[in-house]
């Protein structure tokens, strides 16, 4: 049991607890319809997102990874998203170098009140991943 074949692709989302997870909640409360592909992992802060989580996800089966945190200057932990922004930008620029389309990885800022923005982000990112199709980075080669 995993993504529904033919209908969904595998999208992993890392959302910070204070802003974006709340934004996704707000979108839910407002009944803003979204595609179902995204699977959300809650983290306290976007600064907790080690770029290697994104790499691991993309290498082991994810077709797309989304990271969302508080808007810059608005981090619950003051600086967490500032670090996140640098690390994730670095990763975004590294990915195409190893042959992974950088469009498969998106990072953005959504506050707890921005339900509508969240809906837009999820919808647009999911559409983008569907346009790109499944990612076949994974290739087992023993020996």
């Amino acid at each position: 049991m995993s993504v529904v074949a033919g209908k969904e692709l595998r999208i992993v989302g890392f959302l910070c607890n204070w802003c974006s997870y709340g934004g996704a909640d707000t979108a839910g409360v407002s009944r803003f319809k979204q595609p179902t592909d995204l699977r959300i992992i809650k983290v306290p802060c976007s600064g907790r997102v080690d770029p290697l989580f994104v790499v691991r996800a993309l290498l082991t089966g994810a077709d797309g990874v989304l990271v969302s945190g508080c808007h810059p200057r608005d981090c619950h932990y003051t600086d967490g998203n500032f670090y996140a922004r640098r690390r994730l930008e670095m990763l975004k620029r590294l990915l195409p170098f190893v042959g992974i389309d950088e469009r498969r990885f998106h990072y953005t800022w959504v506050s707890a009140s921005e339900g509508q923005k969240w809906q837009q982000v999820v919808t647009d990112f999911t559409n983008r991943i569907h346009q790109l199709g499944p990612l076949h980075v994974k290739k087992e080669n023993e020996g």
Partner: protein
């Protein structure tokens, strides 16, 4: 491991678009899950009871609740499982309502997504570890930053509640903006008459320690245990000797010192007491203007002072205070005239700001309450008020409403008529915002009883014409151009965040919005709390506010502190970073990136350097964990392995 899974229908909220029974059935197939069920309302009393029963009966050791957002009920269920004997961190929630049932239309897809979400939660909970909070002592003193009406109210309420209060005010007197006002709306009672006694209460309260003319240099620590460094700025007057007699001020030869209290409407002496009701009523030298400092000789005040309080050698002094909580009441700032080139950018003396007009109106102000226009000290007969001078103007970076200008313009129009009965006031406005108790009646009175003419429209330009100022604008209701020849123009300049607000927020580790106003924890339900525990907000530092709102918030913040201090010990959140000293290589990159200075270097007995987390300071952001290259510092409850378990549950299934 014996995981129990509880799927909530949430009435029809979840069950309507998710096949909850199927989710439960799928969970039963998972290794490690020994119990899975679905229930109408898991958060209800019987729903929680069922969880407790199952824990006991089935010997469950970890619980997954798939229901609404954990932001809603995580605490509820943590308490539930704790009551049944499990550690509260053996709970994971899968958000299948806000993130699934409410946003997806296809029941099949929703159900599949819910199954995966719960699988992720199961994968994570199997990696959870019991965490225990430790308790620490609270220092039951409170720091109030800002001695305006909000800060004073907070300080008095705390002090009356038995707390020791440290009140720090950066100007020489407490009282803030309210002490400058002439009358207050909508009652037209004298501002200083109602504020003065409060100021006296503050200075006389045995529980309040006042630092006037002082600023916050440094804030260290955490809720319950803050260490504050206060900079007592040099006044060059020994306040322990100064009696406030004012003799120095009378004899001071410098007469052109900028008068901060009067917003430059008049000048003052280089040594001055800001205003007659000042608390503390002490003199201070303004070295920028004092001849002793600028020319190196004078010494008049030193000679005249009967108590010998003058000390030209005085230096700033740093004092330390330890407190357990902080109330921030740093107030607001105002746009300068120079923001308005079309209104003369401060070049026309008879175009003034609302707060300057307050000083002109005020009986103890520079004109002793006679309305005299600055240029020629004559009585203005035509006064034009311009509202929204900057406010609600995106191009000036102030898209918001300054909240109380409409009201004080009405008040000032009324007072103008009171002072000069043959005067005529004009008010250019965008909208009249008067939604407080008795407010709308008040603005009507200004128009109906006092004859103020309200013109809806923006003022495009103000320029001098002889002794008059021509105010040119549009009347958008009539659709015509309007020109008023005024004797005096008062701009209701935009309320902005206090100067230095951002720097203060950074010292406090609280967040601020793009305009520099401090951000409350929740816009509705936690309006005085910040996201940093132990730091509370009062007054206009959080956003433009009038007096009653500021006072109310001051009291609210005080009550928050009082309830925080009702316990002797506080419990720390155990979901904080932890160092595995065996893996730590002592590179201390985590020390560099920790936003809270919560990590320090520790030298082990064998001489090895490692990182050490100061448990009470760590806020649990996890920046250190993603900084650490060797995985030695792990944010508990969000460890690499816990998050990887979730990633694997999605990607490797």
């Amino acid at each position: 491991m014996r995981v129990g899974v509880f799927i909530c229908h949430c009435g029809n909220n979840i069950a309507g678009t998710v096949d909850v029974a199927r989710v439960a059935a799928e969970m039963r197939k998972l290794p490690g899950v020994v119990y899975a069920t679905n229930y109408m309302y898991t958060c209800s009393e019987p729903g929680q009871e069922e969880i407790k029963q199952a824990i006991r009966k089935e010997g469950l050791d970890r619980i997954v609740v798939a229901a609404c957002s954990p932001r809603m009920h995580e605490n509820t269920f943590r308490k539930t499982i704790e009551k049944a004997g499990l550690n509260r961190y053996f709970l994971e929630m899968a958000n299948i309502r806000e993130h699934i049932s409410w946003i997806g239309e296809d029941k099949e897809l929703n159900t599949n997504k819910a199954i995966e979400a719960v699988k992720m939660a199961v994968a994570k909970v199997m990696n959870n570890k019991p965490l225990y909070s430790s308790s620490f002592k609270v220092n039951k003193r409170v720091l109030v930053i800002g001695g305006g009406v909000a800060g004073m109210q907070a300080a008095l309420d705390c002090a009356d509640g038995g707390l020791d209060v440290v009140l720090v005010e950066k100007s020489p007197s407490i009282g803030g903006m309210m002490s400058r006002l002439d009358k207050t709306f909508p009652t037209i009672d004298c501002s200083i008459c109602i504020l003065g006694p409060k100021m006296v209460d503050v200075v006389q309260h045995e529980k309040i320690k006042l630092y006037a003319y002082s600023e916050i240099d440094e804030i260290k620590g955490y809720v319950g245990n803050y260490q504050i460094k206060i900079r007592k700025k040099a006044t060059y007057v020994d306040w322990s000797k100064c009696t406030g007699c004012g003799a120095c001020m009378e004899k001071c030869p410098t007469r052109n010192a900028y008068d901060h209290f009067n917003f430059g409407v008049a000048t003052t002496r280089a040594i001055n007491i800001p205003f007659p009701q000042a608390i503390p009523k002490k003199a201070k030298i303004d070295p920028e203007f004092c001849r002793q400092f600028t020319k190196g000789k004078c010494g008049v005040c030193a000679k005249i002072c009967p108590t010998g309080a003058i000390n030209y050698e005085m230096k700033d002094e740093i004092v330390a205070e330890d407190v357990g909580a902080i109330i921030v009441a740093t107030g607001y700032g105002l746009f300068d005239l120079d923001k308005f080139p079309e209104y003369g950018a401060g070049r026309y003396p008879d175009v003034i700001t609302g707060i300057q007009y307050e000083r002109i109106l005020n009986a103890s102000g520079p004109t002793s309450g006679h309305i005299l226009r600055p240029s020629d000290q004559t009585e203005p007969k035509t006064v034009v008020f311009v509202s929204c001078a900057g406010s609600r103007d995106k191009s000036l970076g102030v898209p918001y409403c300054s909240n109380f200008c409409c009201m004080y313009i009405a008040k000032q129009a009324i007072l103008t008529k009171d002072h000069i009965p043959d005067s005529q006031s004009y008010v250019f406005y965008m909208d009249i915002r008067s939604n407080g108790k008795g407010y709308d009646e008040f603005t009507r009175r200004a128009q109906e009883e006092y004859g103020a003419k309200y013109i809806r429209g923006r003022v495009a330009k103000i320029y001098p014409k002889g002794k008059k100022m021509v105010v040119r604008g549009a009347d958008t209701l009539l659709g015509t151009q309007v020109e008023v020849e005024a004797d005096l123009v008062v701009l209701a300049t935009a309320v902005i965040s206090a100067p230095g607000a951002a720097g203060m927020a950074e010292k406090l580790h609280i967040s601020y919005d793009t305009f520099g106003f401090y951000v409350e924890s929740h816009p509705k339900l936690r309006p005085v709390e910040t996201n940093t525990s132990g730091v509370y907000l009062a007054g206009a530092c959080q956003g433009p506010k009038d007096i009653p709102a500021s006072v109310g918030q001051g009291s609210a913040a005080a009550s928050k502190v009082l309830s925080l201090f009702s316990k002797d010990m506080l419990e720390s959140d155990p979901a904080i970073a932890q160092v595995n000293i065996n893996a730590c290589v002592g590179c201390l990159k985590c020390v560099k990136t920790c936003p809270f200075q919560a990590i320090k270097e520790e030298v082990l007995r064998n001489g090895r350097k490692v990182a050490k987390v100061i448990e009470t300071v760590c806020a649990g952001c996890g920046v250190c964990t993603s900084t650490c290259p060797c995985g030695a510092i792990q944010l508990q409850h969000f460890t690499d392995n816990q998050l990887l378990a979730e990633v694997n549950a999605i990607c490797q299934s």
